[in-house]
Symmetry: C2
Subunit: 134 residues, 2 copies
DNA sequence: TTACTAGAAGATAATTATTATCCTTTAAAC
DNA sequence: GTTTAAAGGATAATAATTATCTTCTAGTAA
């Protein structure tokens, strides 16, 4: 993935810090601010927390990153992608994406409410397979 | 609704402040901390913000209140009730409950992931009927 | 390539949100 | 009524986020 290009396409300067943040998000999937700061400091030891916040916000405004708000957890961030849902294991805190067609749910909700629906934020919580085995 | 009884049943002392918070939540539906503080001060002019926070947390621990985390908004609270989904109008900020059977979504997710699912947090955002008409 | 400029980085202060502490008061049980 | 654990209120402390300001650099165009 060419993050320099991606950033420029979204009218953001392609700084090394931003590229680092994006590639971290790509490999790690879901990180909160603190985790992201810990990781990014390994590449840019002098990076400021303010820079991290500013970049997260800038990239969210441009639609490159998405914030995921999770019950009883800190917000996590992910690279924006096609709509999907999230699963959280309440025991080991595993947090995964699940591609699932939510069209029927959204249609039903739109029909009942007469809302024109555009975005969805779905987090289901429970116990993952491994933790069930314990 | 007898909030004194409800509180005692959940091993919480039935203080006037708590009863006030619950009845406010009942009438208003969804409030954030700031809104709740503004409202509750009309009944208890000297109530401390710390008291409000402590009570919200105590009532959440006992399962009387639920926190709803919403993209791009402050968390709101509601009286705990049967699972349902939330709709947010991105224009007028209307925020409503919708009773909708999500069993099939949850079943599907459980089947795909092998999670044993227990909780759901679903917020759909878009434009309400009134704002569409504008 | 060099020079220019808007925007970004980094350091830090300021603000906001939330929690902890401590002392006083009160709900609930006897 | 008395007793006591728990709650209220005031405030301090902490955590999370944003604002400010100066220096630096990516991107642009001569």
């Amino acid at each position: 993935m060419n993050y320099e290009l991606l950033l420029r396409e979204h009218s953001l300067k392609a700084t090394p810090q931003r590229v680092g943040i994006l590639s971290l998000m790509q490999t790690s999937g879901h990180l909160d601010v603190e985790e992201l700061f810990t990781e990014i400091k390994k590449q840019f030891s002098t990076i400021s927390l303010a820079t991290l916040y500013k970049n997260i916000n800038a990239m969210m405004e441009k639609g490159l990153l998405t914030e995921i708000k999770i019950p009883n957890q800190k917000s996590k961030y992910e690279i924006a992608k096609a709509p999907h849902i999230h699963l959280l294991c309440q025991e080991c805190n595993e947090f995964i994406d699940l591609k699932l067609d939510i069209g029927c749910l959204v249609d039903e909700a739109a029909k009942e409410s007469h809302y024109r629906l555009k975005e969805s934020s779905i987090v289901l919580s429970g116990v993952c397979e491994k933790c069930q085995a314990k």
